[in-house]
């Protein structure tokens, strides 16, 4: 059976409700924090992605820097790109943290369900058998106190699920539904995700875990409204600018050249990217570099958002759009 991403989006929209933490997990976590260390354990699994979201997280500075997060705020038990351990030792670290419970599960990259999950192996088990990303999600999701899907691949399939979706890649929500597991996922899409969206959400979660904050409010696609509550277009400086760009690289609104700002939920125009220091706005962003917003935070990125350009006779074929949308 070929499962389409869209079928599952419908199914998972139905189960997305208010986020609730599991009481038992919360207790374990509070005990862990009381017992010293103070930072919640994090298990970060990578599926079908490009590691771009991890690299983006390394750029964090607006709320805090990555070294502060790793050293003081979180207890990252497993992250394949940064951890010292390799092989069996790394797998044991992940499994021990899983068995102890009370952890935050972070998933980067999509989960391929085709070929029984064998398009993505995360590691080999003791018996020498490959463990698929699908199996990892199946065994790591149930004990997590919260699940964060980071990047559009992990949230909705993203690039990895681009037509014809050769590996039947899916986001975490859809994967859990497929596996018959019930859990609410906080989706932090973006291709890649902005570091502030990740760290801001983690900060909110830490506050909740410390008993001091409210759960972030999520929209219908599981995205925290604090970051994805308005459209790119709503706050775009080009609206007040009163000019239309006739070609790329020209000042002015890029709506006529393919800009997806009106369909895309993210705070890029006011936050911008690659900030220099704490509490400082970023140095640039897509539309700031006079190139259209590509809609990278939306569930139907990239298929529903491309072709990215509408350059009149200059695109290959104006009619060419795989989803019939313009």
């Amino acid at each position: 059976m070929k499962i389409t991403r869209r079928d599952f989006l419908k199914a998972s929209a139905a189960i997305t409700g208010a986020l609730t933490l599991k009481a038992s997990g919360l207790m374990q976590l509070q005990q862990a924090m009381a017992g010293g260390g103070g930072a919640p354990p994090v298990i970060w699994l990578q599926g079908q992605g490009c590691t771009g979201c991890s690299v983006s997280l390394l750029n964090s500075v607006y709320y805090t820097t990555i070294d502060d997060l790793l050293i003081n705020k979180l207890d990252v038990k497993y992250h394949p790109t940064v951890m010292a351990a390799a092989g069996e030792m790394a797998v044991e670290a992940a499994e021990d943290a899983r068995d102890a419970g009370g952890y935050v599960l972070v998933i980067e990259g999509a989960v391929p369900l085709g070929e029984n999950g064998h398009y993505c192996h995360v590691w080999e088990d003791e018996g020498g058998n490959p463990v698929t990303m699908q199996q990892a999600v199946q065994t790591f999701a149930p004990n997590a106190i919260a699940i964060l899907a980071i990047g559009t691949c992990a949230c909705y399939g993203g690039m990895s699920a681009g037509e014809p979706n050769p590996t039947e890649a899916m986001g975490v929500d859809d994967t859990l539904a497929y596996l018959g597991l019930e859990a609410t996922v906080i989706n932090i899409p973006g291709c890649p995700a902005h570091p502030d969206w990740i760290v801001g959400t983690v900060a909110a979660l830490l506050a909740v875990l410390a008993g001091e904050g409210e759960m972030p409010e999520l929209d219908e696609y599981g995205r925290p409204k604090d970051f994805y509550g308005s459209c790119v277009h709503d706050k775009c400086p080009n609206r007040a600018f009163g000019r239309t760009a006739r070609t790329l690289g020209e000042a002015g609104c890029l709506a006529g050249l393919g800009c997806r700002g009106q369909q895309t939920h993210a705070d890029c125009p006011i936050r911008q990217w690659n900030s220099a220091a704490q509490s400082e706005m970023g140095v640039n962003w897509c539309v700031g570099s006079r190139n259209p917003c590509q809609g990278c935070t939306e569930p139907d990125f990239p298929d529903g958002m491309s072709p990215f350009y509408n350059l009149g006779g200059r695109t290959g074929d104006k009619q060419h759009n795989r989803n019939g949308k313009v």
Binding site: C50, H79, M83, G87, N291, G316
Partner: protein
């Protein structure tokens, strides 16, 4: 008795890699006698690209790899520009070089400090929390005050690499994945305040490379002299070249060239072929140039043990990466490169020591210096009154080729446009070369060859294997040619010991 070491996952790389090494006693020393590297993830990017608007290719392909998206953006833009016949304005070429240069610095610093250094430093007592524990601790590792200082630089390097991305975003729009990279140039404009901001950030990068990165590489080298002869590899080098200094495709900061069987020579892209004998593909596609590449998976093919194809130049195994680039520049008598290499190895150096774990680290650090110094000059060449982008039409039918370099080695994109859309898009990444399996002539891939002969003291802590593999800076998400995994690994272990 031979034993097999499996490292799965091999961490501190980009993407999913498993290493299987056979270790046996050779003349009284326990060494790797056979090795295999396997990529363990497949997305099918080339299949996803088929049928799409060619203008979308730079944005799709940047998502192949989050560490070197800019290299894919560059390869894709060059590829399309060759198909479209677009003549990029000087500003566009320079802006793209600046963004790519910044990402090279980001990647090299990240690689040395955050991916590779933990193989050499014993951080016990310095930082004893996850994700830095658990870890291998071996007697040869640097400890004490040197280890503390290097851990301090590890933290400092996190900020330096972040600022390299900040610098890249000034003209790239954002990082990772630069929206401003388009066929025809760069959509971001040249403005004086942007140049000034870039220049200021560049100065900090330069200071770090001169005063911290290069000295730290030398510190590690001083502590591990044996690693100037471990991880030698195939000895042949290939570089497509990068950082065009004009629009001729002939004048580059890092030259196009190769070093094959002891001689420097030119590169003819037609001589690149991909072999499939030990890859899980139908043999009918073996020996083809990527412009004609066929990807026909065959899961249970006899003797196949890898999901990577084996690209070869003129049937010969070649290593790609900073070592290849610096050696090609050196052999091409580039005066700056000669000066840099001699500053480390002394006058009239024996460059064969560069074919090693430490040689690769040294080449990477020296290349960072070569690039950061050149970038300053590029800023001066920008013209605030000129455009950086030119429009061009997409022809109904065309073919293109885009050859450039990622921080970890030669990167090529090939396109066929038919009916204004992408008909075929092929990518050969650096890790396709370096992590390739054996080919039709039974030659092992570069990483496999480099592993053979590596001494392994404690098979419970095979840190020597990590040191060799990490020196190549592998990037597995990049390896888009991987085909789907079979459900059963053929149980075949070949004991070979090539005469190197």
């Amino acid at each position: 008795m031979a034993s097999i070491i499996k490292i799965d996952p091999l961490t501190r790389i980009e993407g999913h890699l498993a290493i299987k090494a056979t270790v046996d006693d050779v003349d009284g020393e326990q060494q790797v006698v056979d090795a295999r590297s396997s990529g363990t993830m497949f997305r099918g990017f080339e299949m996803i690209l088929k049928g799409r608007d060619p203008l979308d290719a730079p944005h799709y392909t940047q998502r192949i790899c989050g560490v070197c998206p800019i290299s894919h953006g560059m390869a894709s833009c060059l590829n399309l520009e060759s198909a479209l016949g677009a003549d990029v304005p000087a500003n566009g070429r320079i802006l793209r070089n600046l963004v790519l240069g910044a990402n090279f610095l980001m990647s090299h610093v990240l690689h040395f400090y955050h991916l590779a250094a933990l193989d050499f430093i014993n951080t016990s007592g310095v930082i004893d929390i996850a994700p830095w524990v658990p870890r291998y601790v071996t007697g040869d590792m640097v400890a004490g005050s040197t280890a503390s200082a290097l851990v301090g630089h590890y933290v400092q390097a996190l900020a330096i690499r972040r600022k390299a991305h900040q610098m890249a975003a000034i003209f790239g729009g954002k990082l990772p994945c630069a929206p401003s990279f388009v066929p025809g140039g760069c959509t971001e404009v040249v403005a004086q305040d942007k140049i000034d901001n870039f220049r200021e950030l560049l100065a900090e990068q330069r200071t770090f490379i001169d005063e911290t990165y290069i000295p730290d590489v030398l510190t590690v080298a001083g502590a591990f002299p044996a690693y100037f002869s471990i991880g030698v590899g195939c000895g042949n080098l290939l570089a497509y070249g990068v950082f065009d200094m004009d629009n001729s495709d002939e004048n580059k900061l890092l030259y196009r060239g190769r070093y094959t069987d002891g001689d420097a020579a030119e590169v003819d892209p037609e001589k690149i072929m991909e072999y499939l004998k030990y890859s899980r593909y139908d043999d009918a596609g073996s020996g083809l140039n990527p412009a004609d590449g066929v990807t026909q998976p065959q899961l249970n093919k006899e003797n196949a043990y890898s999901w990577l194809k084996a690209p070869r130049y003129n049937n010969i195994v070649h290593e790609v990466g900073p070592l290849a680039r610096m050696a090609v520049n050196y052999l091409s008598n580039d005066p700056t490169t000669i000066g840099l290499i001699e500053s480390v190895l002394g006058a009239n150096p024996d460059i064969s020591v560069l074919f090693s774990v430490l040689g690769r680290h040294a080449a990477r650090a020296l290349e960072a210096k070569l690039v950061v110094d050149a970038m300053e000059g590029w800023l001066d060449e920008l013209d605030v009154n000129a455009p950086a982008y030119v429009e061009s039409d997409i022809p109904k039918t065309a073919s293109g080729i885009g050859l450039t370099e990622a921080p970890r080695g030669a990167l090529g994109h090939w396109i066929d446009i038919s009916n204004h859309r992408i008909d075929r898009y092929q990518v050969i990444t650096p890790t396709n070369w370096n992590a390739s399996p054996k080919d039709d002539l039974e030659q092992m891939g570069p990483i496999e060859q480099a592993l053979v002969g590596t001494p392994v003291t404690d098979i419970g802590q095979p840190v020597e294997i990590l040191r060799v593999v990490h020196s190549f800076d592998p990037c597995l998400a990049c390896s888009v040619h991987m085909v789907r995994p079979g459900k059963t690994e053929p149980e075949m272990v070949v004991y070979t010991r090539p005469s190197i």
